[in-house]
Amino acid sequence: MLKKGIAWVYTCIIFTFLYAPIAVLMLMSFNESQYNSLPFQFSTRWYNELANNQTLIDSSLTSIYVAAITALFCVILATMLMLWIVQTKSPLKKWIDSLIILPLTIPWLILGLSILLLLNLLNWDKNFYILLVGHIIISLPYTVMVIKARLQSLDFSINEASASLGANEWTTFRKITFPLLFPAMLAGGFLAFVISFDNFILSYFLIPSGQSTLPIEIYSSIKFGFTPEINAVSTVLLAGTTIIIIFIVTVMKASLKFLFK
């Protein structure tokens, strides 16, 4: 009984610690005060201002755009690579297996700096594609890990069963591998999206001048006079993410039903 009580309190503390700051941020986005100060006075002023703040909207859209393309590329690349890896006997396998995960261990700061250095050496201008490449490099390991875990949990002999029943490689992929892999592809894509969306350092190094992403915008606004519009945009994004997560979980549940039921 006592043990149960302690566990409960413990859980509460952890959850408070995790979510209280976010709750405060969301609350403050509805506070009239310019300086996030109390007493709390409800208002939608900052949302109105946000609607008129083109820089903030543009940078949010850029972030979403970059993250979406990154996620798409990561899913396609990771799926193709892992499908190849699980069945190949090539000696390259070991190398690719580790090289693809390696960016996890390289600090983003150093990665950003080195890409910048390379651009300098080649005498190239910073551009959008380079930014994308950077984001794909840092997000790919996460997608790979999710998809690889799923592939390894699948019984490889179902592919052979499919072949023995008369299905060629393409049919086997379409009817067996893809449906079973889809939830992992979705989860891996979402992870890549979040990693990319969240990234400040790499974007800061690689973004073409005159553009910015949301993290860059938030960072500079903290430096040069914070307004609660940032709270508002954060809340909007949190709400958006939550909706995406709910959507994904629902889709996954539907396509994963055969596993749970």
Partner: protein, 352 residues
């Protein structure tokens, strides 16, 4: 040429010779078991026939056609895996229909064939269940139905019953054999369980280190094993190693001598032989008989209900004897002095 013919099949993995020039042929409708210890190359043989691996040497023929250059999906071979390998995201019905869809059957025909297949494996009414909702034995039957519904030219089963518990396994053995006979399908069954191979097969091929050591009917293999490996792998046996001297005398390696049963031994002129005798073929007398015999002492008794196993100390060896516990015979007790012997027709004289 026989219906299924394997000729000179060889396969190495990383310079490790796993299959060493295997040859065998079986007629249509035969149930052949590949029996051997783990790692002897049974699965590799099946995978070569199914087309998942490619041989280094040799050819595979079914019904007069050479199939070993075809990709797996063109071989029309039914496969049942040990792990069942059912498609987890499809229902039982969809699993069974899969092979028919690849063959462009119409919807109506598929429905008919699926329900026939389900009836054959006694799973009518299960077509909308997911594999996960079935027991091991039921999943096994779905896998069998899925493999048979395509009317394959050959059925391959790799340790397919090993994952089931003992009682279910025996039931499934009987069911598998019944279905196999009904359909008349030529079947290659891989197992390391000699009892299973004995129960199911028309023919058994005993394998060791990538070679087929002996291939014959279960009865013949049991009665006339070609060497001590086969004799000990299929059933139990007593092995006595030594020299055959004139007058039917046998001299064991430790120097003890006994008289072999009456038979012409003049052809056995090699240095060394192994006499193999099954435990249940040994006759026991409590008083000294007039025919050739060995004297021994009961060391250990194991009671198995209808049978008893005795461990006898004789000639410096441990001899196993198995006897029926019927009402005409007294059970032996530890330290009983006994005299035992066997018929010449029940012994195998082996060279290795």
């Amino acid at each position: 040429m026989a219906y299924l013919a394997i000729k000179n099949l060889s396969k190495s993995f990383q310079n490790n010779l796993v299959l060493d020039h295997i040859n065998f042929e079986i007629e249509k409708g035969t149930f052949l078991s590949l029996l051997g210890p783990s790692g002897c190359g049974k699965t590799t043989t099946l995978r070569l026939i199914a087309g998942f691996e490619h041989q280094d040497e040799g050819t595979i023929h079914i019904g007069g056609n050479t199939i070993d250059t075809l990709p797996p999906y063109k071989r029309n071979i039914g496969l049942v895996f040990q792990s069942y390998a059912l498609f987890p995201h499809m229902t039982v019905g969809q699993n069974i229909a899969y092979g028919l869809e690849q063959r462009n059957f119409t919807k109506g025909d598929i429905k008919k064939e699926v329900s026939k297949a389900l009836e054959m494996v006694q799973l009518t009414g299960f077509e909308n269940r997911k594999p996960r909702q079935l027991s091991g034995g039921q999943q096994q039957r779905v896998a069998l139905a899925r493999a048979l519904v395509i009317k394959p030219s050959l059925l391959l089963l790799d340790e397919s019953l090993s994952a089931l518990d003992k009682k279910l396994r025996v039931d499934m053995q009987i069911e598998l054999r019944q279905i196999q006979k009904e359909v008349g399908i030529t079947t290659l069954f891989v197992t390391h369980d000699q009892e299973e191979a004995m129960t199911l097969s028309d023919q058994i091929a005993v394998m060791k280190n990538g070679k087929i050591v002996q291939m014959d009917t279960p009865q013949n293999i049991y009665k006339n094993p070609v060497n001590s490996f086969v004799a000990s792998f299929i059933g139990q046996s007593n092995f006595l190693k030594g020299r055959i001297k004139e007058n039917s005398q046998f001299v064991l390696q430790n120097g003890s001598t006994f008289s072999l049963p009456q038979q012409d031994y003049s052809l056995y002129n090699q240095e060394e032989y192994i006499i193999s005798v099954r435990p249940e073929k040994i006759r026991v007398d409590q008083t000294r008989p007039s025919y050739p015999h060995i004297q021994g002492k009961v060391k250990f008794v194991t009671y198995i209900g209808n049978l008893s196993m005795y461990l006898i100390e004789a000639l410096g060896h441990d001899i196993r004897i198995q006897q029926q516990n019927d009402s005409y015979r007294d059970q032996l007790k530890v330290n009983d002095e006994i005299y035992f012997s066997w018929n010449a027709s029940d012994q195998s004289i082996l060279t290795e």
